[in-house]
Symmetry: C2
Subunit: 238 residues, 2 copies
Amino acid sequence: MSRALGIKALLFDVFGTVVDWRGSVIREAAAFGRLYGIDADWQAFADAWRGKYGPFMDKVRSAALPWTNLDGLHRLALEELLAEFGIEGVSDSAKAELNLAWHRLDPWPDAPAGLARLKARFIIAAMSNGNVALMTNLARYAGLPWDCILGAELARAYKPDPRTYLTGVQLLGLQPAEAMMVAAHPGDLQAAAALGLRTALVPRPLERGRAAAPEPIATESFDVVAADFRDLAAQLGG
Amino acid sequence: MSRALGIKALLFDVFGTVVDWRGSVIREAAAFGRLYGIDADWQAFADAWRGKYGPFMDKVRSAALPWTNLDGLHRLALEELLAEFGIEGVSDSAKAELNLAWHRLDPWPDAPAGLARLKARFIIAAMSNGNVALMTNLARYAGLPWDCILGAELARAYKPDPRTYLTGVQLLGLQPAEAMMVAAHPGDLQAAAALGLRTALVPRPLERGRAAAPEPIATESFDVVAADFRDLAAQLGG
């Protein structure tokens, strides 16, 4: 399959595809609550924080905000979030520390070993809306053996902006068809496919927790559909 | 030492500091010669190719050339070089393959294990004039476990331009004093120190071969002077 497709690099969405942002942010927020004696519904807090992700990126996309990296957007969202949850009196340093929750996300269980296996055959790179510092710290925390970190900050544009994908492909010195985008989210893959990249869907039905029913995904439009990264490696001949 | 200095990341010059460009390019050029039945002094060829490195970057610095990454500059230099050595009739694809010699450079013997040891304690990043694709392929070839690849291409400016170092520090979300530049070349370190970065000199006396006497280096102006990367790890408490 990989030989036929001529793929040289795999570009990975990270939040939800490689790491379990929700379970990890719930854990980090609850630890923050215990440390400062604050009681709240931390599951709702994590979901509300992630809920502000799209709207804040939209502010950059529409130029209502100048370019701001994801650490910066998470921090702006956190200010709103604390107010909405009625959490007051948090110091700037405590907010800064809580904002680093996004640098400490657990990988899905198959991810580290699956990436290591894929790396033996392909360049593997983060292609996330997360900024370089966030992705670097996250890779160290979660054991993600990226060859390099690409993504939104290097293009100063958030996915699904074509510049995000194309800047990454160009930095690798590749043609779009030599790169495969790997994601749990069809929209990410459709944006990449429109530019000529290959696509691999790896559904992560637990991304939004066990209580949330995953949205059904029409899988026929992707080059590969894999159960996890080990299966992806097997299907790509790695 | 590292605790006292407050260092979070080590930024590495690569050509000469991490890898033996000269011995490797001689080997690659000689292999090219054998493949195409071309006889030349491949040591002189490698040295002349590297000799064009500074002048071609100067063309970008002076805006005589628009931004061109190092793969592009190596290729422009190669055209001159082949003419100067009287080597004719080389196909474009053979030139492109020879240009990739710079993606296949052997590490100094201590480098892979030394970097792995340093990585346990610090973020380690390439801070080279080499472009992202070159550095990515080189890391895979030589076993260099970078956390991320920074450097000239992300700043569109060649060291010792301050933008190269400062863009890297900013992408890591750090203050300059939280980063240490590691290089075999005093000029690289002096440029970094002028911006507030810490500095570690790792002399590589064999960079220009056994026949060339290494230039004497005044070592007193650097935060650390280490014999190799294992020694650097030991001195930084890793």
